[in-house]
Amino acid sequence: MMQAMVLDSAQTSLRETTLPRPKLGEGQILVRVCACAVCRTDLQVADGELPNPKLPLILGHEVVGRVIEAGKSAERFKAGDRVGIPWLGWTCGECRYCRSGRENLCEKAKFNGYTLDGGYAEYMATDERFCFSIPESYSDVHAAPLLCAGLIGYRSLVKAGDAERLGIYGFGAAAHIVCQIAKHQGRKIFAFTRPRRTGTPGAQSRCPWRNRGLRRHSHE
């Protein structure tokens, strides 16, 4: 059995409950969850702002955990390995998007913590093909935000090409990671924020150029 926080229906609080440990399907691994970051998308799912959640549902798609058991024909990871589990949980592999390197747009895609159960639980069964190894230098807790905030920021950065100057509009979890990468790559970063915004990660410690004002701030 396992403990889980379950969303029964939109606009209700999560309910702590005991559920059977998930059963392993083909190609899946059973993961003991160590840490799971909370994403704004989780709020949107809980509020009913996304159209088709699985219900009841276990939220969570920034999961760091340890492999407990590998299912039939799952061979990438072995028991004890640390894995990261992101939003994308399954794709069809056959549609025009999947066949052209755009599986993120697969119309049959399934998503962890939305159309598949996610990481607000002690255990999670997931398709091993969509998991990542996490660099050893990161703790479980500090690695968790890499799995959505980090990834979507990275995808945005790649889309921006080799631009020397970047503008970041709003400064949340994704921005606080992507600006470190951009800085590491030697780019100039401009951040635009609203005044008196709270909850801005790393605003003081790593982004001294970013003040809480309407003015534009830059860092080279």
Binding site: V141, A144, V158, H176
Partner: protein, 74 residues
């Protein structure tokens, strides 16, 4: 999500583009983890026991978080 404000055509002229991102590909993940192993990315986190997921969501909703909320298992 709020609407995107309008802006003068001049800003978009000279074949500039507006683009959005959706989800991720496995390739993004592999590339990003390789990058993350090449230099230390510091993430600011505020941890909550996993049973306090509702409190973590409320903190996110009300802008009270100092960093990303992360649920931890006992």
């Amino acid at each position: 999500m709020s609407d995107i404000p309008s802006f003068p055509y001049d800003i978009l002229w000279r074949e500039r583009t507006v683009c959005s991102v959706a989800n991720l590909t496995r390739r993004d993940g592999e590339e990003f983890m390789t990058l993350a192993s090449s230099f230390p990315i510091k993430t600011s986190v505020q941890t909550f026991p996993f049973r306090e997921a509702n409190e973590a969501l409320t903190h996110l909703r009300t802008g009270k978080l100092q960093g990303a909320a992360v649920l931890t298992m006992a």
